[in-house]
């Protein structure tokens, strides 16, 4: 499947000096891209299609891969645009929709008292956050995946998603607190 829309993505993000960008190098990243895509769209068949489209776009655009970021970051950026396009096509969420002012970060409720040792071991915590990612809105999930999982800075994440910094800030705030609450609830249940 050929996707010419890929060429509209500003593929100016650069490659490490001396990096060899060929089919083999790109395919080595497949597990990473599948992990990212699946966590973003929650459907294996769709994730595979998006990763395939990303390969094609990357091979077409490899000449513009210039050396200031890793191949992984560059390809995750391309994949992110594919995922956002998928969200738009399926119209699951109004992508520019922001909550009305003046409270875009959502209502504040004081943190209830919790057992001081109600923390999960790291492996269980990872299971809980991975499961809970599916309960975030699509854009919240993308923001969290890019900034917290892929560890992109906010500027790069906002660029990959095509959202303004203020929008990204709200998405991160909401997504992170949903995950945090799920982790706290799971911790309390585990220690009940």
């Amino acid at each position: 499947m050929r996707n010419t829309a890929a060429l509209s993505f500003p593929v100016t993000a650069p490659a490490p000096a001396g990096a060899v960008i060929d089919d083999a190098a790109i395919r080595q990243i497949e597990p990473v891209l599948m992990g990212f895509a699946y966590r973003a769209v929650r459907r294996e068949d769709v994730a595979r299609d998006l990763v395939q489209e990303t390969y094609i776009a990357a091979l077409e655009a490899k000449a513009s891969f210039a050396g200031r970021s890793t191949l992984r970051t560059w390809m995750v950026g391309i994949l992110s645009r594919k995922i956002i396009d998928f969200y738009r096509r399926t119209r699951r969420e109004v992508l520019t929709d922001l909550p009305p002012e003046p409270d875009p970060l959502g209502a504040f409720t004081p943190t209830p008292a919790r057992a001081p040792d109600a923390r999960l071991d790291p492996a269980l915590a990872m299971q809980v956050v991975e499961r809970t990612l599916g309960k975030l809105t699509e854009l919240e999930r993308m923001a969290v995946l890019l900034v917290d999982v892929e560890q992109l800075d906010r500027d790069a994440a906002g660029q990959a998603m095509g959202v303004q910094p203020t929008h990204l800030r709200v998405l991160l705030h909401r997504g992170r607190h949903k995950l945090r609450e799920a982790l706290e609830d799971a911790g309390l249940q585990a220690h009940a």
Partner: protein
């Protein structure tokens, strides 16, 4: 001094180092005095650490029904 609401609104920014030093200092002071917000901040960090752990982990393919 920050109250709980304003602290809560800044915790995500603080995780990313997206706050000026004086704001970070105000948050630190509040967290020392407020056990509830301190717990929230710790849970937020735990959650971020768990997310980072997913970075190189293959996904669990369980295509959530009704997504």
């Amino acid at each position: 001094m920050l109250d709980c609401r304003h602290t809560h609104e800044s915790l995500s920014d603080a995780l990313d180092g997206a706050l000026p030093w004086w704001r970070r200092a105000l948050i630190r002071v509040h967290l020392r005095m407020c056990p509830g917000c301190a717990r929230t901040e710790r849970s937020l960090r735990d959650s971020r650490d768990a997310l980072r752990g997913l970075r190189d982990l293959p996904p669990r393919f369980d295509d959530e029904a009704g997504e």
